[in-house]
Amino acid sequence: LPIIPEIGEDDIEIAQKYLEKYYNLKQKEALFFRTKDTNFTNSITDKIQEMQAFFGLQVTGKLDSNILEVMGKPRCGMPDVGQ
């Protein structure tokens, strides 16, 4: 329901783990996530876009409240894309 979450380092860590687990993001690529730099590498932006497309969100390639909201929902532990 309506809230305006701020995107902090915790959110970035959650996003990193989520994309590793469900979208086959390689840990090497994910190191960029550990800084608060939002200019992610192309591969990370691709993964964010892939997830946004999968969930029918607006495809921006950026972490925003919509994608973080989806990441916070209970779900199945199987990946959404292939390894």
Binding site: L1, P2, I4, Y22, A53, F54, F55, G56, L57, Q58, D64, S65, N66, V70, K73, P74, R75, C76, G77, M78, P79, D80, V81, G82, Q83
Partner: protein, 377 residues
């Protein structure tokens, strides 16, 4: 084959399953029934048959409850987050197995995590399906609480499982009911003839209801969400007919038939649903078509058939002198209203595929728009 490169499908039509252990959250009988029903979801639309085995017998699908690390390199993560996982068909002993996170609170209803819904999803993996991006499908990865009695397998799931195993001989007789819900899809958002069941503001956003779904219009982020109503309020019925928000009380009222629910956030307030006659409607009124709260006057208009009533939200009583005719007091709107909301000093009434922007004081139509003008069409 994307999610399970090692698997495709079982090479047989009769599969065995075995429940290795039981969650303490539910009676064993309840677990048995939830598992049986979850497997039946798939056997109803395919030629597959599932047979339960006991004791030391090997089984194609082994079902277990476990916490944290549980010997498969994919540990669970405590309450919420990951609920369960399952392995696709393979000759490996783990193939087909379904593991459920014991740190969840498993229930037969929607008080906790509904075992039937999660098991039905996991058994889709056990049979070889990967995740679906189709909203409302069983194989969508996010848990969507749904009353089991209202559960119907989505057409997307049916098509995909039948691509693997074929059609059940008796499927023609069952598929009609199985494919009817959910009845709305994202493709209808910009349909020229889109009609809403109900509409309301909610905490600064606008919600439009139709069948099992709602559209959520936000203003601080772009895009429109299209969601199952049950993803927010699992116990509410589909086909809601009227809605409004009393901003000062942070309460949303939702109507269907002669009942209404008061909602705050995710919660249905205690004591609801109540009968609409407790609001002061005559016994002849069986449903409300639309409702709109004017926060400037603190009055709510209720529309039913060709008439409307005015309800004082301060005194919690129906005003005298009503009902009045919609067509007479709101010229150009017509003889009925399907949905309505109040936003920034204007009423927005919906009838069919039309939307009327109205000045609340003069009750005059200022603008006529398409019904879906709020949905980025």
């Amino acid at each position: 084959y994307i999610a399970f490169p090692w698997s495709s499908k079982w090479g047989k039509k009769v599969l065995t399953y075995r429940i290795l252990n039981y969650t303490p959250d539910m009676d064993p009988d309840e677990v048995d029934r939830a598992i049986e029903r979850a497997l039946k979801v798939w056997s109803d639309v395919t030629p597959l048959t599932f047979i339960k085995v006991y004791g030391g017998d090997e089984a194609d699908i082994k079902i277990s409850f476990a916490s944290g690390y549980h010997n498969d390199f994919y540990p669970f993560d405590g309450p919420h987050g990951i609920l369960a996982h399952a392995y696709g068909p393979t000759d490996d002993p783990i193939g087909g197995d379904a593991h459920f996170d014991e740190d969840e609170y498993w229930t037969k209803d929607l008080k906790g995590i509904n075992l039937f819904l999660v098991a039905a999803h996991e058994f889709g993996h056990s049979l070889g399906l990967n995740h679906s991006s189709v909203l409302g499908s069983l194989m969508h990865p996010v848990y969507t609480p749904t009353d089991r009695r209202k559960f119907k397998l989505h057409q997307d799931d049916i098509v995909r499982i039948q691509n693997l195993y074929g059609v059940c001989v008796s499927e023609k007789t069952t598929s009609t009911s199985l494919t009817q819900a959910p009845t709305s899809s994202t493709t209808t958002t910009c349909a020229h003839n889109l009609k809403f069941d109900a509409a309301t503001t909610l905490r600064g956003e606008i919600f439009f209801f139709k069948d099992s779904y709602l559209w959520r219009k936000r203003f601080y982020t772009p895009g429109i969400d299209h969601l199952l109503i049950t993803s927010f309020w699992p116990t509410l019925p589909s086909g809601l007919q009227a809605a409004y928000e009393v901003n000062e009380e942070d309460v949303m009222l939702l109507f269907k038939g002669n009942q209404y629910w008061a909602i705050r956030g995710y919660d249905v307030l205690p004591g609801f649903p109540k009968e609409i006659h407790t609001l002061g409607f005559p016994g002849s009124i069986k449903r409300i078509d639309a409702a709109v709260y004017n926060r400037d006057t603190r009055k709510t208009y209720f529309f039913s058939g060709p008439n409307y009533w005015s309800y004082d939200e301060v005194s919690k009583s129906m005003e005298k002198g009503y009902p009045k005719r919609i067509a007479i007091n709101f010229p150009r709107v017509g003889r009925r209203v399907d949905a309505a909301f109040y936003y920034k000093g204007r009423f927005y009434f919906f009838r069919g595929s039309k939307q009327f922007e109205i000045d609340p004081k003069s009750k005059r139509v200022i603008n006529v728009l398409k019904s879906n003008s709020w949905l980025d069409c």
